[in-house]
């Protein structure tokens, strides 16, 4: 049963995050940090299942987030009385189907050729959502405010409630993911990543496993997109799900650590908190009177430099750093790399 536990630290962390709510005085922390952090973590987790474990890199994550967000929106709009959790589930299912469709090229393409071709999904989805008003329920403003949300009789209308709902959804899906990667499916993913031919010889069904990886990954990313739109932004708009967001999700798993559940959360913390800290620091150093465009540019440079410095210092990600601290310094750990698929 040891495998069942996602490690006690995670349970403690979950309890702290759930029970610590009354001790956090400011709504800002929930609305601007914790809720988006959870959604980005979940998206990172989804991408990590596909890229970190199964070795198929995607640059189109935010398109799948958009599919999830718009699916949830359309189901809530068109099916009166549909429970919110059911809409979230449907968002995942529809995105999974979509992921399988765009996963088909992975059967032929490898490495960067595959990564670039996922950009097709990115640009196509954004275009379709912007161009066809049906997806927005006839609203042509480009920004749709989400309807009031309810779980049974409880209205999800405060920052704390939105945060707790995100926490619940993310915790359940994380638990399922830890079970998944510890089991047969996870080992098949890794087998395909490390050596596709050997995996085939061992009886791994390549086609089925790759498409399954696409489906699971897209399910997670779709739900993450719905959480992002409904619980964080409270608006649904195609413009928010652009290429920069896709890169952000990829940064999350590179910085957090490939093929690591914990890595998605560590990476998301880095990516969500860093820009906030930078803009705080920018405001403190330059004052409010300073040209904000210039501060944006400086922040961008610092972010770029930090990414490069970070990749140099810890190429295997924060998750490897944490593992090394745990086991005492100086211990060389095997690093996780995406191998075999880049030639």
């Amino acid at each position: 049963m040891a495998r069942l536990n996602p490690s006690h630290a995670a349970i403690v962390l979950f309890l702290v995050m759930a029970l610590g709510v009354p001790f956090i005085p400011s709504n800002y922390i929930f609305d601007a940090i914790l809720t988006p952090l959870l959604a980005i973590s979940l998206a990172g987790l989804g991408l990590n299942l596909l890229a970190g474990y199964a070795g198929q890199v995607s640059l189109g994550s935010s398109a799948f987030m958009a599919v999830g967000a718009f699916t949830a929106y359309n189901f809530l709009l068109r099916v009166p009385g549909l429970p919110l959790l059911a809409a979230l589930l449907l968002a995942g299912v529809v995105t999974a189907a979509f992921g399988v469709l765009f996963g088909l090229p992975s059967l032929r393409l490898k490495g960067f050729y595959l990564a670039i071709s996922t950009l097709a999904a990115q640009f196509f989805v954004q275009w379709a959502l912007t161009n066809f008003a049906w997806f927005s329920g006839g609203d042509t403003s480009g920004v749709i405010t989400t309807p009031p949300l309810f779980i049974g009789p409880i209205a999800i209308d405060t920052p704390v409630k939105r945060y707790l709902l995100s926490l619940f959804v993310v915790a359940v899906l994380t638990l399922i993911a830890t079970r998944l990667v510890a089991g047969r499916a996870g080992r098949e993913f890794i087998a395909i990543r490390d050596n596709e031919l050997a995996a085939r010889v061992l009886g791994v069904k390549i086609l089925r496993t790759k498409l399954f990886a696409c489906a699971v990954s897209s399910f997670y990313i779709g739900v993450a997109g719905a959480l992002w739109a409904f619980l964080y932004l409270q608006t649904v708009e195609p413009a928010g799900f652009d290429l920069d967001r896709s890169f952000e999700i990829l940064f999350v798993i590179i910085i957090g650590g490939l093929a690591s559940i914990r890595g998605a959360f560590l990476g998301a913390a880095f990516i969500v908190v860093l820009p906030l800290l930078l803009s705080r620091a920018g405001a403190a150093v330059f004052g409010a009177t300073f040209d904000s465009g210039l501060v944006d540019i400086i922040e961008k440079i610092i972010l770029g430099v930090l990414i490069i410095v970070f990749l140099r210092a810890e190429p295997a990600g924060l998750s490897a750093l944490v593992a090394r601290i745990k086991r005492g310094r100086g211990l060389a750990l095997p690093t996780t790399k995406i191998t075999g698929n880049f030639s």
Binding site: P105, R108, F112, F247, G304, I307, I308, T339
Partner: protein, 295 residues
């Protein structure tokens, strides 16, 4: 069907494709010799164009500004090799790709920090009067771009085929360990190739800048050239040219003949879809090296 109009659209498309190829060539150079997919290529185009146009506006003559910008691009190439690539050697390709993404933030930011964010217009002194050919009009400027692209490809071919530097490039591309073993200095080769890519970026930046104005959106040409790379193969200069022509042609034809039926704007993604379908038939692109699957 109006075949004259069709031919006009097709030629405009082919010439637009040449512009994509120009950016794609910079990618190919770097990918071929160091295996890095350089997302910062677009940022380099922006940096080069912005530096040139700012120096030119300061009153420097064309060739002095050109030489100064070229020098800046060479320094940039050397810095990138020393600060970003060398410490990350032997990391997985995806990590290197991420590093170039960070690099693109730094270069874009630096360009805007030094030279400001306003839009500059750039006049290369080439008249853009459409040339009539029977009933078809051809943009003179586009023809000039095609000519420049031809010269660059010819120069690069000579460089790769007939010079010692080119031989070193090819050796590094073929097998890095073997190249090291024969005493080639890989860091020096990489710095050189980034400098050459900087030169190509400068030329691409000037031509694109003259067409669209020198502004931030110049760095987005990277997204136009990625499907070209996928189609032509990441490691083939000829592929970058042919891929650019195919993408430019099909994209323009699709926009004119299919676009109106689906609400327009399909040029945002049609190139990727073309490249995708093409790849399903030939997974390593038109001219890409067939990767050997080890047993």
């Amino acid at each position: 069907m109006d075949w004259g109009f069709f031919a006009g659209v097709a030629i405009a498309g082919l010439l637009a494709g040449v512009m994509y190829s120009l950016v794609a060539i910079g990618f190919v150079l770097i990918y071929k010799t160091s295996g890095v997919l350089n997302f910062a290529q677009g940022a380099m185009v922006l940096f080069a164009a912005l530096t040139f146009v700012s120096l030119h506006e300061e009153g420097l003559p064309f060739w002095v500004a050109f030489a100064a910008t070229l020098a800046a691009m060479i320094v940039l190439g050397i810095l990138i090799e020393a600060l970003v690539l060398r410490p990350l050697v032997n990391q997985p390709p995806i990590t290197l790709f991420m590093a170039t993404l960070g690099l693109s933030y730094v270069i874009e930011g630096a360009a805007q920090l030094f030279w400001g964010t306003q839009v500059h217009s750039l006049d290369l002194g080439i008249e853009d009067v459409p040339l009539p050919l029977n009933s078809i009009l051809i943009s003179q400027f586009d023809l000039f771009c095609a000519g420049v692209a031809g010269v660059i490809v010819a120069a690069l071919t000579i460089l790769f085929r007939y010079t010692r530097t080119g031989l070193a490039f090819r050796a590094a591309a073929e097998d890095q360990y073997a190249a090291l073993n024969t005493g080639l200095k890989l860091p020096r080769i990489w710095a050189t190739v980034w400098a050459v890519a900087g030169f190509v970026s400068l030329v691409a930046g000037l031509l694109w800048g003259a067409r669209t104005g020198v502004q931030f959106s110049l760095s987005l040409v990277v997204l136009k050239s990625l499907p070209v790379l996928v189609l032509g193969g990441f490691d083939s200069i000829a592929g970058a040219i042919v891929g650019g022509l195919i993408i430019g042609l099909t994209e323009t034809l699709a926009e004119v003949y299919i676009g109106p039926f689906v609400g327009g704007g399909i040029d945002q993604w049609i190139a990727y879809v073309i490249a995708l379908f093409f790849l399903l038939v030939r997974p390593t692109g038109l001219f890409g090296q067939r990767s050997v699957e080890r047993v």
